[in-house]
């Protein structure tokens, strides 16, 4: 191990960039889902792990699919990669393609070209962890790491047809994950089924591990408090209440998705679960809040890419152009990244911060309160809030005179549509793409766990691409384990 470290240290010096390249190969993967691949084959019994290109690994560069970090050799390894190597014998098979810095919903915004959907070359894979979703789908990996800021794991899982899990914020370490929007970023996992994900994180006890290098990773004390108040096993379905958030039944919802949603709900009810409608009134504002907050944090996080200490630097002077580093940053960043940096720069500016950034933070609180109100379990992070009926919108459905129903999990579609065609995505422009995140963003804003699972719909409309519709289960904070158990149960029931 020590020898390996020494060698790695040598690699990070500029004199020996070739060593990095000899361990990797820029092989053309069928669906352009890998950026670099490990030449060494995994030992027998090892779990093949694909890692999104914005998570630091030894040996393979960490470029976030951006020209500005082309070939960037990370001098250290992300905690989550190290944990998976040590606890479940994971072997990193390669770094997966993605939207540059995680900014995108279709895995098209990459310096290495778009990821293609195995179900149809003209279909979007979803993003930004499209490469990771494809890697597990085509069996190049057993599990894949992605990052989920506003749906970047769940959306590609839905459009590729695999399982995508976003954990509670703060459960898994982000150390070594290149931030897009720190307060929303989580490391997520993708696999063809739920079981390998549950096994690698929960059976391995990785979910209990703290990381002193990540200040947002829960401390031991908080973790113990969460573990204490959160039940471990899923009760019989007859004791489970599932909520269908009414606000998610939007006009834009694809009819085939809507029918898959109701079929899933009916099947769960048929198996004993109580299914009730619930209201999350702030949902319509959540998407706007997300697209204010995430770019704001991104504009700040991406200020460090100036080419001075690492990454690619323009050949002209740093001072060339209008402002310092404008050449390097102009050449290095792709269009979507530039768009979000500009957006964030504006919403943080002194004239706009009150109307945008602060307002969005308020919306974020309301979104989180909405969830706390409908979940039966209290959040282990906040003091329980007393909800007054008079504070609730008139549209709130009441279960009885004591108030609206409280539920264990929420069930809703992962995305409002089936995978769109890449051509349509390109012609409709970026703002239209943002709409795809409408169902995934609320759980991100509230820091809640969510998982996207494919369901077998009877509807011929979805089957035509060979991609089944996907449903999203959202749980209370730290209720990840039972949420994944429900996902596994749904797989067994043949939902």
């Amino acid at each position: 191990m020590r020898a390996a470290l020494t060698r790695r240290a040598a690699q990070s010096s500029p004199a020996s960039p070739r060593c990095v390249q000899c361990l990797q190969r820029r092989r053309h993967s069928t669906y352009n889902h890998f950026i670099t691949q490990n030449e060494r084959s995994p030992e027998p019994g090892a779990i093949r792990l694909a890692v999104k290109d914005n998570i630091a690994t030894f040996n393979l560069p960490t470029s976030c699919a951006s020209s500005i970090l082309a070939e960037h050799p990370s001098p250290y390894e992300a905690t989550i990669v190290q944990q998976l190597r040590e606890h479940v014998n994971a072997h990193v098979v390669g770094k997966t393609n993605m939207d540059e810095f995680g900014m995108g919903s279709h895995s098209l915004n990459s310096a290495h070209g778009p990821v293609r959907n195995p179900a149809g070359q003209d279909l979007s894979t979803g993003g930004s962890s499209g490469g990771s979703a494809v890697a597990v789908q085509v069996d190049d990996a057993d599990i894949a790491l992605g990052t989920d800021t506003g749906g970047s794991v769940r959306l590609p899982a839905a459009w590729i047809g695999c399982v995508g899990y976003k954990p509670s914020y703060g459960m898994l370490s982000r150390y070594g994950v290149v931030p897009y929007a720190n307060s929303l970023d989580t490391v997520g996992l993708l696999a063809r089924a739920t079981t390998p994900i549950r096994a690698s994180i929960f059976d391995s006890s990785i979910y209990q591990l703290t990381d002193p290098k990540d200040p947002t990773c829960l401390s031991l004390k908080t973790r113990q408090r969460c573990i204490k108040v959160t039940p471990v096993t899923l009760p019989d379905l007859s004791d489970v209440t599932i909520g269908l958030p009414l606000e998610y039944n939007i006009a834009e919802l694809d009819p085939s998705i809507r029918s898959a949603w109701s079929q899933t709900a009916e099947l769960l009810a048929a198996n004993g679960a109580t299914v009730v409608p619930v209201s999350l009134p702030t949902t319509p504002e959540a998407l706007c809040a997300y697209y204010v907050l995430a770019p704001a944090e991104a504009s700040s996080n991406l200020a460090k890419y100036d080419g001075v200490r690492y990454g690619v630097r323009s050949t002209t002077s740093d001072a060339a152009g209008d402002t310092l580093y404008s050449e390097t940053r102009g050449v290095g960043f792709g269009d979507e990244v530039k768009r979000r940096i500009l957006l964030g720069t504006y919403t943080l500016s002194s004239d706009a911060i009150d109307n945008y950034f602060l307002q969005a933070q308020r919306v974020r609180r309301l979104v989180q309160r909405d969830f706390d109100r409908v979940f039966r379990l209290a959040s282990p992070l906040h003091e329980p809030v007393q909800f007054d009926l008079s504070d609730m919108p008139d549209t709130t459905d009441l279960q009885d005179k004591t108030g609206p129903a409280q539920v264990d999990f929420l069930l809703c579609p992962t995305a409002p549509t089936c995978p769109p065609r890449v051509e349509d995505v390109k012609t409709r422009g970026s703002v239209a793409s943002y709409v795809n995140d409408v169902f995934t963003v609320p759980a991100s804003l509230a820091g809640l766990p969510a998982v996207s699972v494919p369901v077998r719909s009877q509807d011929q409309g979805t089957a035509k691409h060979g991609v089944p519709a996907s449903m999203q289960i959202i749980g209370q904070y730290w209720d990840d384990r039972r949420m994944l158990a429900l996902a596994e149960l749904m797989e067994r029931l043949g939902v």
Binding site: R174, G176, S183, K304, D306, L348
Partner: protein, 616 residues
């Protein structure tokens, strides 16, 4: 009043760990320490730098006295000596100044990484991944930074905030690797403080006996990297300094005289030193000040303050005063010529007479302050604040009062003593005084001790003036060697025990002042083979005073041919002291100088004259 090293205290207060090594150190110290009540009021443990801090090698520190002298010389040269006093006010105009002081905290770790803080180590030798903004690295707040920061805030009488937060201040510059500085813009850890400046601190005479300036807030923030400009167009970067913890102290705009503003900066520096919050003085780059200057016409108190300009990065106390004067005069000139003042940032070069424009409002960056999403709020417990408040070193003002009232030093000497060698000289003073006192006690053998002021004054005089004289140009070719003091007040060239011995012999009149001065010079130059006592003995430097008869013979000799002087002394209504001194001088010059004590000579001469007056 022992203060504990930040690292040690941090481990105890923040993690509940008590080091046995530290305990042993405490008991040893307690034994060695003089029990005398006056042992070091302030800064007795200034030497207790946090354990892993690399010792600053630092540029040579110019002694304050030398600096003052040089400044006075310069001023004289430019004919400014007198002008300065008058420069405090301009008729018809009122000046308003607010100051931001940046000081580097005395900690072993950086603010957000466990990398060691250093001063002159090899470039880029203390750099964590976060310090160079490596993608995926995160800030880790180092709790122990709070200790010096809180000491500083308490010394400035601030309210400590239970909860404070960190924000990002965005701007592009190569010394700022993240593209933002982490600071406390929205919620700082200390607010609403104040500092009182007294006449003896040297404030402008117009401010009277004292003036109290409000401290708006004190915030924690990161330092930037050091840029090393090369001869060609290259800039090299040293990231050792990046992320080093600073505090920014922001005053209310309540100063109206340039001198007072400069005194404020000096006093803040002294306070931070005393409470062991700050690494080094302004002259070594540990302290920087930005001043905000505006002027308005006098007379109507309802006139709003004029447009202010900010002068950035003043690194000496003199520069603060000079820059304010220059900027005030420029603004008044502009306004009197019918112009307006633009809110802009200006710079000041040492030795210049004008501030120069750096950038205007249009060139101003919108810093886009955003709460750092990675950093949790800092929650400061009342117990920590209480502990630090109780162990806070005595304020320089209280120590100054004591030096004047109890030890009989003049206000001017007391101020010098506290300022010299970053506070080490006063520690040296206490050491010498303790040594002398012990010897006097042994000598008294149960008899009454002499008055404290009488011998403390001698110690004060020698530790300030005689020691200062050693390093002046008159001292010969070796005068360049500055005296080195440890923060605890030990001096290698003139050990305090030796000076105590010397002053004991002098005070008890066993050697003359002349011999004492020569011995001190010998000690300083390393010319003495043995200690003071042995040297006096071996070279027979003891003061063998004349007997009364011998004195009287001397007096007879001196009075011969001085009938006119004698006549005046006997007849004059007002006793002509100067004539008497003339005779004493003559007596010392003509007689065996080394055996005459001027005091005895004066006394006997007075007796003789008194007899004559009585007889007349």
């Amino acid at each position: 009043m022992r203060r504990t090293a930040t690292a040690e205290l941090g481990r105890y207060l923040l993690q509940g760990r008590l080091s046995t090594r530290g305990c042993l150190k405490i008991s040893q110290r307690a034994v060695c320490r003089q029990s005398s009540l006056r042992t070091s009021l302030a800064g007795a443990s200034r030497s207790l730098q946090t354990a892993s801090t690399s010792q600053p090698a630092g540029p040579p520190i110019v002694p304050l006295r030398k600096q003052w002298r040089d400044e006075a010389k310069q001023a004289k040269k430019h004919g400014k000596g007198k002008a300065k006093k008058d420069s405090q006010t301009v008729d018809g105009w009122e000046l308003t100044v607010g100051i931001e002081v940046h000081a580097q905290l005395n900690t072993s770790k950086k603010l957000f990484s466990p990398a060691v803080t250093s001063f002159n180590d090899d470039p880029n030798s203390h750099v964590a991944l976060f310090d160079v903004a490596m993608p995926g690295s995160q800030p880790l707040f180092q709790n122990e930074v709070l200790i010096p920061a809180l000491r500083a805030a308490l010394a400035l009488n601030c309210d400590i905030q239970k909860t404070s937060r960190f924000d990002r201040k965005h701007y592009f510059w190569w010394d700022q690797p993240s593209g933002y500085q982490i600071t406390q813009y929205y919620e700082s850890f200390a607010k609403n403080g104040q500092i009182t400046l007294l006449a003896r601190d040297g404030i402008a005479p117009q401010d009277g006996d004292s003036v109290t300036i409000g401290i708006q807030k004190v915030q924690l923030e990161q330092d930037t990297a050091k840029t090393l400009a090369q001869s060609d167009d290259t800039q090299l970067l040293d990231f050792n300094r990046v992320g080093v913890p600073l505090i920014e102290i922001i005053t209310e705009p309540q100063m109206h005289y340039p001198r007072t503003a400069a005194v404020l900066v000096r006093k803040i520096q002294m306070l931070l030193n005393t409470v062991d919050a700050c690494v080094s003085g302004m002259e070594t780059g540990g302290l920087r000040a930005d001043v905000n200057v505006s002027v308005r016409r006098q007379g109507d108190p309802n006139t709003p303050l004029g447009t202010r300009t900010e002068i950035k990065n003043l690194s000496t106390i003199k520069a603060v005063e000079d820059a304010i004067i220059a900027e005030r005069d420029r603004q008044i000139r502009e306004l009197e010529a019918g112009g307006t003042i633009a809110g802009e940032t200006r710079g000041w070069a040492v030795g210049s007479t004008e501030t120069r424009r750096l950038r205007g409002k249009e060139g101003e960056v919108d810093y886009r302050y955003m709460p750092d999403p990675d950093l949790a709020p800092v929650v400061i417990g009342e117990d920590l604040v209480q502990h630090l408040r109780q162990t806070l070193a005595v304020s320089p003002d209280m120590e100054l009062d004591k030096l004047i009232a109890e030890f009989g030093l003049t206000a001017k000497d007391a101020v010098s003593l506290l300022n010299l060698d970053n506070g080490a000289r006063v520690q040296y003073f206490y050491r010498v005084l303790n040594g002398l006192e012990t010897m006097l006690q042994a000598n008294a053998g149960g008899e009454e001790m002499p008055v404290l002021k009488s011998y403390a004054g001698v110690v004060g005089n020698w530790t300030i003036h005689e020691l200062g004289r050693l390093t002046t140009s008159k001292a010969g070719p070796f005068s360049q060697v500055e005296l080195d003091f440890t923060p605890g007040g030990e001096c290698a060239q003139v050990p305090d025990a030796e000076l105590s011995q010397l002053l004991y012999q002098l005070y008890t009149k066993r050697i003359t002042g002349k011999v004492a001065k020569e011995l001190l010079m010998g000690l300083y130059l390393g010319d003495l083979d043995a200690g003071i006592l042995e040297t006096i003995e071996s070279r027979d430097l003891w003061f063998q005073e004349l007997s009364t008869e011998e004195y009287n013979v001397q007096i007879d000799t001196v009075l011969e041919g001085e009938e006119r002087v004698l006549h005046e002394l006997v007849k004059a209504d007002v006793f002509p002291q100067r004539k008497l001194m003339f005779l004493i001088g003559k007596m010392i010059r003509s007689g065996p100088t080394e055996r005459i004590d001027p005091a005895t000579a004066e006394q006997l001469l007075r007796t003789r004259i008194a007899e004559l007056r009585a007889g007349a």
